[in-house]
Symmetry: C2
Subunit: 225 residues, 2 copies
């Protein structure tokens, strides 16, 4: 279940929002105090934040801007006034969506759903082993603070190695998953691409993570496991 955090000072609206979201199957929580709101929100690890622009103390816009600096969640802005300038300000500050109050529950849910969906979609493409993470659509491989975009063939091999981890992947498995044929016509092509993959990996300081097991195949060896 996804957690949605609400920053809204109007008690009635707040309760209504919580009710609506809970009914839709979300976990809804509201901020109780607006002191250190940024810290408090980050601490709650929300999947989505719904933010009123008129908060006591600090402006909601200010908060939005600060959250967005390191936010890994989408932000939906609520406002009482429905003017174009409000909308532009909100979206200019990095908000992901914008709604005028009052709004119909279905409308809110639809917006929330859309924001969460996109976010999920990007994460679902990630294949992860130890400190490594591979986007199987783009073959972007991330490790710690470095990344690398692999060519298609290298990416397919890496994917297979990660999916099979920590098992050894036989050559015929690699051939069938990368080239779609069990009977490898040319033994060499695999070795060439292994070589290329290793060179690419060493480019971000990942030497020796692809190991050959003589006569068996290849394994991934992520350090420290």
């Amino acid at each position: 279940m996804l957690r949605i955090v609400i920053a809204e000072d109007d008690i009635y609206l707040r309760e209504e929002l919580i009710h609506t979201l809970k009914k839709a199957g979300y976990e809804a929580e509201a901020l109780t105090s607006f002191e250190n709101a940024e810290e408090a929100i980050a601490r709650m690890r929300p999947a989505l934040v719904i933010l009123d622009v008129n908060l006591p103390g600090k402006s909601g816009y200010e908060l939005c801007k600060n959250l967005k600096i390191k936010a890994s969640f989408p932000i939906l802005i609520l406002t009482a006034r429905d003017t174009l300038s409000d909308e532009l300000t909100a979206l200019g500050l990095g908000a992901d969506d914008f709604l005028a109050k009052p709004c119909r529950p279905e409308r809110l849910i639809a917006r929330a759903e859309r924001l969460l969906q996109t976010y999920d979609k990007q994460l679902r493409a990630l294949l992860r082993v130890g400190a490594l993470s591979l986007d199987v659509d783009t073959y972007k491989l991330v490790c710690a603070d470095k990344f690398l975009i692999l060519a298609e063939t290298e990416g397919k091999i890496m994917r297979m190695l990660m999916e099979s981890y920590p098992d050894i992947v036989s050559k015929s498995d690699l051939f069938s998953s990368v080239w779609g044929t069990e009977e490898f016509i040319d033994e060499n092509i695999l070795q060439v691409n292994m070589s290329r993959l290793r060179k690419s990996l060493s480019g971000i300081g990942m030497e020796n993570i692809v190991r050959n097991i003589r006569g068996k195949g290849y394994v991934l060896e992520v350090s420290g496991v």
Copy 2:
């Protein structure tokens, strides 16, 4: 602050884990009951799950497997026995890392940190506007359940449009950010690439989101905002 959820039935170890993690600056929470553990964990939206394999009722392996089907968080497996077969089983089920009990706090923290870091890195590359999300490294554009990988020039243009949203981007701005020169030698090249970008976007059902403002430049227009 990042939330780490712990599924461990041994009370002493559980408290120790919580203590260690909190001292390291994480928000640590433990499961109190192991009924509907999957549901409970998902509900907590963890940034990381630490999972003992020996839980009352269900096997930790089983739980791990089920969580991983839709998990958007890494899982670290704990086990009492330090055998290779345990490790292989755990990692084979999609666990992201594996540790034998007892283990030193520094070791645990180091592992946790590494898992969380990778995850963050992938998300930090995302630029988001409304339902759209663009990976600025690979130019993968995700919208709802569809995605598309843009060519470099198209991607740069899209990035500029998203970064400037909801403002209009002037042609000279586009020239300087995409081609690195204010004085556009050939006016046409921008139009050609705009045309290509629009065609690419329409491939995933996103017609009419790039609009031209005569004499001013281009704007992104995401529907429903």
